[in-house]
Subunit: 145 residues, 2 copies
DNA sequence: AGTATACTCCGGTTTTCCGCTGGGTTTTGT
DNA sequence: ACAAAACCCAGCGGAAAACCGGAGTATACT
């Protein structure tokens, strides 16, 4: 139930990329890392994972950087988190089918918990995050005036 | 999103205790540990935590052991998990209120995810687990005949 | 062509946490 | 008195998370 730094960093970066989805100017790691105060070498790894997962595409060389490969409204938060933890690849995924009855029951409940969480994550997209942030910005501005 | 051994062990132990909630004969750590194949020294710690959380009470000395301090239907799985992770005590719990706007938004979503998961956990009690297990036992028996 | 800029790949390090173990103390029934 | 249990505290080993570094490679710009 803990939001890892990994997930947060990735989402922040993707939000950044979503902001300039229109123009095809790529955004550099250094840029994102500096803006959001994220260790750049670590962000690099995460973006590499996201690239392998097909969520972003990269442009190498000078003037290079990263771009969102799909539209912001087509990328759910579940997509992102799945991509990140899918990289760790829990191959030894104990489904608990071999354990005793009590453990199996507990595992069943856990599946329900997981589904409930995933339902929420699936229904939010990067665009939703962007919209919510922009709305909040607007609001803060109004209070200021 | 991972069911820890800690949580599973605790639930298994509580389920055991729920089974003999009627009689006031306490159940020993060794007993539970042996039945469910749990390292007893570790289980000891977990039960201590559950005791401090008020979910079980203990009887010291010979013929001692543990008893459920409340009725099985009044203890939700959320109660149990909260008790366990509350012990770790994330005192430095960053509510993200100090961070920037983007992080705050992400944190908000995470709160929703957490609530969705907790809703499921809250609505299952130890009694529910017990009932479900017993029903499953019944079912297996029928298949056997 | 040459150079600066950026990603890419691969590995190493540090820190943190989980699961687990051990030693010694205190309480209680017989 | 003795044994059986909970209690308390402290540490350990491995794995994962978080982070850093270096050498290589692709690309743009001049």
């Amino acid at each position: 139930m803990e939001l890892s730094s990994k997930s947060e960093y990735a989402l922040l970066a993707l939000l950044h990329l979503a902001d300039r989805y229109q123009d095809d100017e790529p955004l550099q790691i250094r840029q994102i890392a500096a803006d959001q105060d994220i260790p750049d070498r670590y962000l690099e790894q995460l973006l590499a994972t996201l690239r392998r997962g097909g969520l972003v595409k990269s442009q190498r060389g000078a003037k290079g950087g990263y771009l969102l490969s799909r539209a912001p409204w087509s990328i759910s938060l579940l997509d992102v988190l799945r991509c990140l933890e899918g990289a760790d690849a829990n191959l030894a995924d104990n489904n608990g089918s071999d354990r005793n009855l009590e453990s199996a029951i507990i595992y069943e409940i856990w599946v329900e918990v997981d589904r409930a969480a995933n339902d929420v994550l699936q229904h939010y997209t990067l665009q939703d995050l962007k919209d919510r942030r922009d709305a909040r910005k607007q609001l803060d501005l109004m209070y200021y005036i």
